[in-house]
Structure formats: structure tokens, C-alpha cells
Amino acid sequence: MNREIEDLLRRLAPRVLGTLVRRHGQFEACEDAVQEALLAASVQWPEQGVPSKPMGWLVTVATRRLADQWRSEAARRARELAVSMEPAPDDDPSRDVDDTLRLLFLCCHPKLSAPSQVALTLRAVGGLTTAQIGHAFLVPEATMAQRISRAKQTIKGAGLPDGPERLPTVLQVLYLIFNEGYTATSGPDLQRVELAAEAIRLTREVHRLLPENGEVAGLLALMLLTDARRESRSVDGVLVPLAEQNRDRWDRTRIKEGVELVTGALPKGPAGPYLMQAAIAAIHDEAPSTEETDWTEVLILYKILDRTAPNPVVTLNRAIATAMVHGPAEALALLATLDDDKRIAGHYRLDAVRGHLLDLAGEHDRAREHYQRAARLTLSVPEREYLLRKAAHRP
């Protein structure tokens, strides 16, 4: 299937599904019908050309499939459906917009576990096949199929929710998808779906639907500004820290877009955690080197973030910025406040950051111990390689 048609189909998938669910309820049945319609389009369109109203075409075909499905299940349902059968809509475009958002809210139903929310979002909103999703998460297709089917059963009967109270969960799910792709450690694989790109695509869609929302803009910016550094993030399977990355290889287009999003959203009101993190990422991405980074500004932002959205990982990052502004002794004192924090106890990053700060303080032997411990605790192969090198390095 050619790329343009595939992109078009994946863009239309959530709108078609949203329309069907709004009209007929029964998410599970509608989802199956839309998958079949997408499959039919992927076969017919490249040969016969894209219909003039692709959205209407898909809704009509999916509705027919839904009718077939119901007819074979129960005559009563088919009669009900006959009543609600309508000609293809390209009716009110604002409706499609609402449908897509509400579909996202449905996929991020609080009754579902995070892996189920992720899988369902990628399938129903992202328009990916079960096999593609399984492949992306290195899980057998049968496992993913069962996970999706269980998720659909769980939310069976739940209509499309209106409320924006699920937006934070949606953003969290999108960020999970992004991170899964960004930190993926598996080897080169042409079939592996680009999860980071997919997360950016979906977040871009949410931003288009909610352009005034600062956290949506912030998340999109954070993804772009992080993804901009992807190429230089590891070399030969070994993690390269920010300070040592080749900044010439950073993606300037992504950085420009991310920075514009941040500067556009910041004046609109109090910044939430995603926007704050994006603002910090923007400072790093615009700096020509670690030395020329405005660490005072970074530190101020981390202090605000640590106060408004307290979290041990933020404190860790704040300690790194503190070292750059006030020296390692003050940073180590800040790190000590995390020693009794159960949320981060046993996490490799506590040891990795302590190793880094002790190195800065000239205590290389103690630094080595912490690097070694961090190397044992991490769950990422490139990170482990980096930490082992730091442990072996004698300055």
C-alpha cells in the first residue's frame, strides 16, 4: 500500500470509528467493522483510486459490515440497525473533531490498565493493526489480540465520554507510547512501528483539536524537543549523555517547532508539568554546548517544577542543574534528601546521578562504586554500557 493512502487511512480511522460509536454504541463491534473497512480500502484504493469522499466511503462500508455482523448475530439487532442506517456523512466537520477526542477518552478509560489503554489507543485511534502493535512492544500477536479484546470487553457499554477530566490520562498514555519508542533498545527492525513518531502524530492531532490547552502544547513540544536529539542519543548501542552529544546532528526542524510551541503557550497562563519540562528541554536544545547552557534558568525552572509537581526524578534533575550553578557539594546535599524516599529507592538513576556528582567533586573512587551499582540496577542495555564505561574510566 502506498504511503499516502496509508497515512490518509490512519488519519481517518478514529473519525470513522468515532462516528460509528456515536451512532450505534457498541464500541467492540464498531471497532471490528472499522478494521474491516480499512482493510477493504487498503486493497481497493491503490487499484481504483481514492474515492472523492474517503471519509464517507469508509463510514458506509464500516456501517455495512456492522449490519452484516449484527444480522448474523440476531435479526432483532439488524432491524434496529436498519432504522439507524443513514447515507454517508461528511456532515458536520466539528463533529468528527469531537468524535476523535471522545474516542481517545474512551480508550483511556480508568478501568483499563496502562498497557491496555496504550494498546487500545494505538489500535482504535492510531489505526494500527494488532500485529503491528504486538511487534512494537515485542509481545506475541496473540497476547496483544487478547489484551485488546479484553480491553474492549471491559469498556463494553460505556458510551463516548464527554468530559475533559480524562485528558491528563490521555496525555500520560501518549507520553508512555512516546517513551516506549524513544528508549527502545531492540536492534534494527524494519517492521517495527515507529512508536515515537506515532505518539507525536497523535499528540499533534490532540493539539489541533485543543489548540488553547497549554499541557497539550507542552507535551507535543516536549516530545519534539526530545526526539530532536534521538540520532545522537546513542552510538553503537551505548548511551551518550546530553553533555557529550554531537549537537550538529540534532534535528533543527523539530527544535524550531518545539520552541515555537513553548513560547506560544507560556504566556497563556500558569504552566503545567509538561510545558515546564518542554521549556527546560528548549533551553538545552537551543544551547550550542553544555558550557553555554543557561543553567541558572534551567535551575529556576526545575525549582518551580519541584514545587508545583514534586517528584523524585525532578529532584534528581534539579541536583544536576544545582551542580552546574552552585557546585557539586550543594547538589550532593540536595540528593541526600532523596535517600529515604521510597519512590526512588533502588532506582539506578539515584546512583548514576550520585556517581556523576562525586566525579565532579573529585571523589572518583566513590563515584565508581555508584556507577557500578547503577549499572547493575538499570533495565536498559545502552544505559548499562554507558555506566560500566563510566565505572571503568579513570580520570
Binding site: 490498565s113 496502562a114 498497557p115 491496555s116 494498546a119 504486538g134 511487534h135 512492544f137 515485542l138 509481545v139 506475541p140 500477536e141 497476547t143 496483544m144 489480540a145 487478547q146 489484551r147 485488546i148 479484546s149 479484553r150 480491553a151 533498545t185 531492540s186 536492534g187 533495565l379 536498559s380 542495555v381 548499562r384
Partner: protein, 122 residues
């Protein structure tokens, strides 16, 4: 997140089980597998032959040395494992508690996170 649930077993404990108890454990594994399959968290399971059947290849820096018998003469050994993919370590613990071994005094399940996977099905 993928975890290996390693069933650490022990001859003394297994030998002391009555036939009925052994049957309960066996059936329990079937029921357990159905539970994690239905939830979409099951990836793979293998039961291993007794370590009496093991052969060990040991690196020496030169030609590797081959010897019969288990790697370690220990009371506990790995009897088999389940590989699962679930939300969190807390969920992995919850799942491990459902394995019938968790109800037999003296048997343990070790939960280890997976760091890298590859394979035909993935």
C-alpha cells in the same frame, strides 16, 4: 514491562507432596495459565527437566570444559518459568502469587525484569 517468573523448586518439598497435592498443583498451573492468557499478559512458559539431566560447558580461557550434572549442587533449582508482560512490578507480584507453587510451603517464585528480548514470535 516483561518479567520472568522463575519457579524455584526443591526435591525435598516436591517428594513430600502427596499424589493429590501434586495433582492440585498440576491443575493449578492450567488454571493459572488461562487467567494470564485471558488478561493478555501471557507470553511464554517452559517447564525444565530435572537438573540431573544437565550438562555444563565451562569457559576456561582456552578450550571449554564439558561436564555432566547441574551447574550448582544446590537444594533449590529452576524448575521452569513463565514470561509475562504486565503493567508494573506490583502487578507481576500479584500474578506470581496466583501460581500454584506459591501455595506450597517451601517453594518460591523469583520475579526478574527482562532487559532485552528477541525471537521468532516477537
Amino acid at each position: 514491562m516483561k518479567y520472568l517468573l522463575i519457579m524455584q523448586v526443591n526435591h525435598e518439598v516436591l517428594d513430600a507432596l502427596s499424589e493429590d497435592e501434586r495433582k492440585l498443583v498440576m491443575e493449578g498451573h492450567g488454571a493459572f495459565m488461562k487467567t494470564v492468557q485471558d488478561s493478555g499478559e501471557f507470553i511464554l512458559t517452559q517447564a525444565l527437566a530435572d537438573p540431573a539431566n544437565s550438562t555444563v560447558v565451562t569457559g576456561t580461557g582456552g578450550a571449554p570444559v564439558v561436564s555432566d550434572g547441574p551447574f550448582l549442587e544446590a537444594k533449590e533449582f529452576m524448575g521452569g518459568y513463565y514470561m509475562i508482560d504486565c503493567e508494573s512490578k506490583e502487578r507481576a507480584i500479584e500474578i506470581a502469587k496466583l501460581i500454584p507453587d506459591a501455595k506450597v510451603k517451601g517453594l518460591s517464585i523469583e520475579i526478574r525484569p527482562v532487559m532485552y528480548s528477541a525471537g521468532a514470535d516477537l
